[in-house]
């Protein structure tokens, strides 16, 4: 009886902690559904994010760890992905499902174009920056006119979010840079938020599976622990 109550209490605490973290998250101006303890990816946002990536980033950046076939995880059918790849040109042929998301710009040319700065591969970029999802959003919306006391280096732009504030990447997003199929208004902020969601998925494609298995494992282990405590008490009853 007592154990049953503590089991319920422990489980409630775990779920409450998870949803509290989630609720707190929804209140912030920047909110991605995947960030709560039990939050999963918003597939509509991922699909919009891929469109932004393909339109506004892929000309300079690659996402080499991804293949086009992986895009079915965004909720697209294989046929839909095949339609997308058919419209993407690699050297002298259309892309296929088994091609990697390479950049349209060869590395050697890229370095020359941006004063020695090479656009990094974006497959793992969200994992590779502290608070990666927010960072991508802030970076893409952080272009500003430089303060009066700052002289920019050649071929650099002022960005509030970038460490050192001078980045070689020209602002990649503008309002209506893409047209969303689902009718969402394509503001710069919306595009930044969606591409941040897409890159979060690219860095951590197993997030949904991880949390689903995790929830089941934790519930199972809470009961196992209580069972262990009950067993131990019974066995040791006449010792202590």
């Amino acid at each position: 009886m007592k154990l049953g109550i503590s089991a319920a209490a422990l489980l409630a605490a775990f779920l409450a902690f998870g949803s509290a973290a989630y609720a707190e998250d929804t209140l912030s101006p920047l909110h991605w559904q995947s960030q709560g303890t039990f939050g999963s990816y918003d597939q509509a946002a991922l699909q919009r994010g891929f469109l932004v990536y393909q339109t506004a980033c892929a000309s300079c950046h690659s996402a080499n760890a991804l293949h086009y076939r992986d895009l079915t995880a965004l909720g697209l059918t294989t046929e839909q992905v095949a339609d997308i790849t058919a419209s993407i040109k690699l050297d002298n042929r259309p892309a296929t499902l088994d091609d990697r998301l390479i950049s349209a710009l060869p590395k050697s040319q890229a370095a020359a174009a941006f004063g020695g700065a090479v656009p990094p591969d974006l497959s793992n970029i969200v994992a590779a920056r502290p608070k990666g999802t927010e960072y991508i959003y802030n970076l893409l919306t952080g272009y500003q006119a430089p303060p009066a006391d700052v002289t920019l280096m050649a071929k650099h732009y002022y960005n509030a979010a970038y460490p050192g504030n001078q980045i070689a990447m020209p602002a990649p997003l503008t309002d209506n840079a893409v047209t969303y199929a689902d009718g969402t208004k394509a503001t710069t902020a919306q595009e930044a938020s969606d591409v941040a969601a897409f890159l979060t998925w690219a860095s951590d494609p197993n997030l949904d599976a991880r949390k689903q298995i995790g929830l089941r494992a934790v519930i199972f282990l809470i009961f196992l622990t209580l069972l262990a405590i009950a067993t131990k008490r019974k066995i040791w009853r006449d010792v202590a």
Binding site: T37, A65, L66, D70, P120, D121, S123, N124, I125, A127, A128, R129, P130, G132, S203, P205, N206, R210, K211, I213, G214, L215, A217, V218, L221, I222, L224, T225, L227, A228, I229, T231, K232, I235, W236, V239, A240
Partner: protein, 373 residues
């Protein structure tokens, strides 16, 4: 097994009887705290790490261009590869948490005192080995940070090449070259087996000096049920981290591939190496760092003799308070290493390291001598 085969086996190799006598019926003290399960947890975790590491090694490529990409392949394309790697990374976190706790527990209870000095020494040897193995595992990822850290370490090793047999080349394959990661991976595995051996020695050494208990109970079912509780709680914690915080205590910058042209400003290692990293930056130069690191371990090894109290007495209140402060001091030291270089940080680091040595070399002898009077 038929009765006939069983009696034949028992007459030739009495495994079952031996198991019953040595394990099941083994008499153990009737009154033990849950922390006494730490040894079981540490051994279990080490074996778990060896198994998950063996699986990962089937896919890991130890080369300059292969290492990072092979880990990405494990995370993305190998079935459940992300889970195995997460087990391995989080297992390391759990192992270090348990080892640090065990060391702290031995310090605060005075377990290092005679006749426990060898048990204590083996504990420290295990920690030292785990730090090396942990560091090598971190270096194996060849990320934007660990790549440069390994570069520095191999250079430092080359500076020590006056050692007989040129240990550094033998162990690390010389200054970051093509063979380096292969050597690192090899040592990562090899030292783990040595560490397992140290755990076995620790187990027997502890048995040899264990005080005779007034009242005992057989291992099974008493200790099995007791440890079942400890293991379940530990695994529960483990699962929460694996599934909800798989990158806890890692430096995110290291998730990017190494850039041979860009040295990171702050080379923050994983959490369990932070205090050690701070100590190696305490004295200038490579040699200074190595001297400081081994000095920090040397005072720990010397504890049985720095403590002036009667080994049979309970540690005094002031002594215990000082051990708690020492624990906080080491955590604070790790935080200065995580925060990166700045003047204020450098000063704090010196203060925290100073306190560490003051604790062992001055305060411990003074306080223990006074408290046991």
């Amino acid at each position: 097994m038929s009765d006939q085969t069983k009696s034949w086996l028992d007459s030739r190799l009495p495994l079952a009887a031996c198991f019953r006598a040595q394990v099941c019926d083994k008499p153990l003290p009737a009154n033990r705290p849950y922390l006494s399960a730490l040894g079981t947890l540490i051994t279990g975790t080490l074996i778990f790490l060896m198994l998950s590491g063996a699986v990962l090694s089937a896919y890991y490529v130890a080369s300059d261009h292969g290492a990072y990409n092979s880990i990405q392949f494990i995370m993305r394309n190998v079935n459940d590869g992300w889970l195995i790697r997460s087990f391995h990374a989080t297992g390391t976190t759990m192992l270090f948490a348990a080892v640090y706790l065990a060391i702290f527990h031995a310090l605060i209870t005075g377990a290092y005192r005679l006749p426990g000095e060898l048990v204590w020494g083996l504990k420290l040897a295990f920690l030292l080995l785990m730090m090396l193995v942990g560091y090598l595992g971190y270096a194996m990822q060849d990320g934007a940070v660990s790549h440069w850290s390994l570069h520095d370490v191999t250079l430092a090793g080359a500076g020590l090449s006056s050692f007989p047999g040129n240990i550094s080349n033998w162990v690390l394959g010389g200054p970051a070259g093509h063979g380096t990661l292969g050597h690192v991976a090899m040592m990562h595995g090899l030292l783990t087996f040595i560490a397992l051996g140290v755990l076995v020695l620790h187990y027997y050494a502890k048995q040899a000096v264990a005080p005779v208990a007034k009242k005992t109970v057989p291992l099974h079912p008493y200790y099995t049920s007791h440890h079942f509780v400890a293991v379940s709680v530990y695994v529960l914690l483990f699962a929460v981290l694996v599934f909800f915080a798989p990158h806890l205590g890692e430096n995110p910058l290291n998730a990017a591939p190494a850039n041979p042209l860009l040295v990171p400003a702050v080379m923050t290692p994983p959490w369990y190496l932070l205090p050690a990293a701070a100590v190696t930056h305490a004295l200038p130069g490579t040699e200074g760092g190595i001297v400081a690191f081994f000095a920090a371990f040397a005072v720990l090894f010397a504890m049985p003799w720095l403590d002036r109290s009667d080994p049979r007495s309970e540690p005094g209140f002031l002594y215990k308070l000082l051990v708690v402060i020492l624990g906080l001091d080491v955590i604070a030291l790790g935080m200065t290493a995580a925060a990166g270089p700045s003047t204020i940080n450098a000063i704090l680091m010196i203060i925290f390291i100073g306190w560490y040595f003051l604790h062992f070399l001055v305060l411990t002898p003074l306080v223990t001598a006074r408290e046991s009077k």
